[in-house]
């Protein structure tokens, strides 16, 4: 019943549909809610347990004693652990750099092949990763070891006289790390590159730019979101990786991943392991948010 006499608008029932249709904030919330709820339950809550754990201490049998203190964090403020953290950052950085060096041209290549071939080529990159991780790494060990394929072939061809010592050195670790993380860089890069429209490239060419210039001034900047996504997907997990460094490097160094794993599965000092994880989490979270905001990822404004 409308109120024509008073001139006031009729009291309409709250319409969810209408709100969703018209209110951008509501739309945003609606879209994010499944993720938010899911992650709240299965990620945030468990992580809260970890945060709480980091403020406890280890009992004599490797159990947890529920006595709040900051002992673990105090322990972490030690040059030994800082050194380990920095070294891990180095591994992550090196892996990221090389995945970009190898992945960018590859992604660019795929983005420029005829459309119908692209998904095939992308699948080809991912296909090896549907084999088992362990045997992939074992394959690399067989290739790189002293009596392995690489050395056998090179010796046979006379290129070298003494077998190359690659396995159980940082080189071997890098080769395998880049191998494992390549798809994480190629895929986001590709999605970014593929989006670049012909029109933009042609416009640049029309304006007299040579191919390299077009690349530097048009393509590269437009592919930055892909590089950022790829860098995050490579750098952060690579930093925490320890299986590949252990297998390919001979487990002679301790990275932050080893340190944390050891706390949970060797010394059974879960609180300390939790604290170390928190440190890692905070550092990388800050870094990530700064990086993405600064580089323009997520700056898109409202509809």
């Amino acid at each position: 019943m409308s109120n024509i006499q008073t001139g006031k608008p009729a009291l309409t029932r709250f319409s969810l549909r209408k709100t969703l249709r018209e209110n951008p904030t509501a739309q945003g919330l609606a879209l994010i809610s499944p993720t938010a709820i899911y992650l709240l339950l299965f990620m945030v809550l468990p992580m809260i347990l970890v945060v709480l754990l980091s403020f406890m201490i280890r009992g004599p049998y490797g159990n947890v004693v529920y006595r709040v203190n900051i002992q673990n964090y105090a322990r972490l403020a030690d040059p030994l652990y800082i050194r380990i953290l920095v070294f891990s950052l180095g591994v992550g950085a090196a892996t990221t750099v090389f995945t970009i060096l190898i992945g960018y041209p590859l992604a660019y290549f795929i983005a420029r092949t005829p459309a119908r071939q692209r998904s095939f080529l992308l699948f080809l990159i991912l296909l090896p990763f549907w084999t088992n991780f362990i045997i992939r790494i074992y394959a690399w060990i067989m290739i790189l070891r002293t009596e392995g394929f690489l050395n056998s072939v090179l010796l046979h061809m006379g290129v070298i006289n003494v077998p190359l010592n690659i396995l159980y050195t940082p080189t071997a670790v890098l080769i395998a790390m880049v191998y494992e993380f390549l798809p994480f860089m190629v895929l986001p890069l590709y999605t970014s590159l593929e989006k670049i429209e012909n029109a933009q490239l042609e416009a640049a060419a029309d304006l007299g730019a040579r191919p390299w210039r077009t690349f530097l001034r048009v393509t590269l900047p437009l592919s930055v979101p892909g590089m950022i996504a790829g860098s995050i997907l490579v750098f952060i997990p690579a930093m925490g990786m320890f299986v590949v460094p252990d297998l390919m490097g001979g487990a002679k160094t301790i990275l932050i991943g080893n340190l944390i794993r050891n706390q949970f599965l060797v010394s059974r000092d879960w609180p300390f392991g939790a604290a170390a994880s928190m440190l890692l989490l905070i550092i990388t979270l800050v870094f990530t948010l700064l990086y993405t905001r600064k580089a323009g990822f997520g700056e898109e404004l409202l509809v």
Partner: protein, 355 residues
Amino acid sequence: MKIYKLVVPIVILAMLLSACGGAQKPKDTEVNLYAWSEYIPQALLEGFTQKTGIKVNYDTYSSNEELMAKLQAGASGYDVIIPSDYTVTILTKQGLLEELDLSKIPNFKNIADDLKKPYFDPENKYSVPYQWGTAALAINTEKVTKPITKYAELWNPEFAQQIVVLDDEREVLGMVLMVLGYDRNTTDPKQLEEAKVKLLELMPNIRLFDSDSPKTALLAGEVSLGLVWNGEAAIAHGENPAIAYVCPEEGCSIWFDNLAIPKGAPHKEAAHFFIDYVLDPEASVLIAQEFPYSNPNAAALELMKTKYPDLYKTYMGYEATNPPKDWMARMHPVKDVGDATTLWDRVWTEVKGGQ
């Protein structure tokens, strides 16, 4: 409604009848085994199912710490586990093990007498032996021609990048402590500091750390000797008979794996049946056939002598499976060091993190 009036009494009757039923066949239909991987022959599990009708679910872990991590975090549902010596100590102290009813495990009598009543469970209240073994030096005698009698020789410059050691702080630091003449289970910070320095001196000779499969590096020719588990040495020896196994003068470590039942196991009866079955001589021989560790089952060894002479010969002939008596005097178990675990971890981190 009429049907319900019938069903309820029938169900109750059925339950009563089954409760009165035969004492031999257990009520449980399955048992959840949580053990080391590659440790229990499939044939043994199948034999058990055939005999009792109980299905076995075999889940695996690859270290005692993984087992403890899961149990301490509250994971339940497992009926039989295979903890090592110090793990039994820790789990007992935390009340995470069920007491065994030895009357339900008559085959316990088959265990060699000197392996009953171990230091970590003197009354076999919570565990019975499964397999045991050592960690010592495996040497590829094709590459290392002179005999090695002391761990101290590992520090020789001629072994640069030629050694593999276990990726295990208790084993490696423990070995270094023994070389220095100290107790391998020490909690003394000064001794550990000395061990750290000594180990750092060994680092140039260590090509890799590997607890999972050190035999691979040995067999692939990447290293010529190393500190490995006896099982690893035995398998390597099987592929290359030139691989010798030696317990140096300073001593080596000995370990015992045991069958136990975690607290709150859902199928306790089936668990007891299973443990009893494993201790049966024929079943135990199956284990010896597939996995080359040391077998505590005296009755099984007797059986091997008569029924499987070739297996007996191989088993008795190699030090990895059958250590000589004079080794026993210098074999020391790895014991839990309690709070000093943090200290040990710190030393290990410093050794590896200092590179």
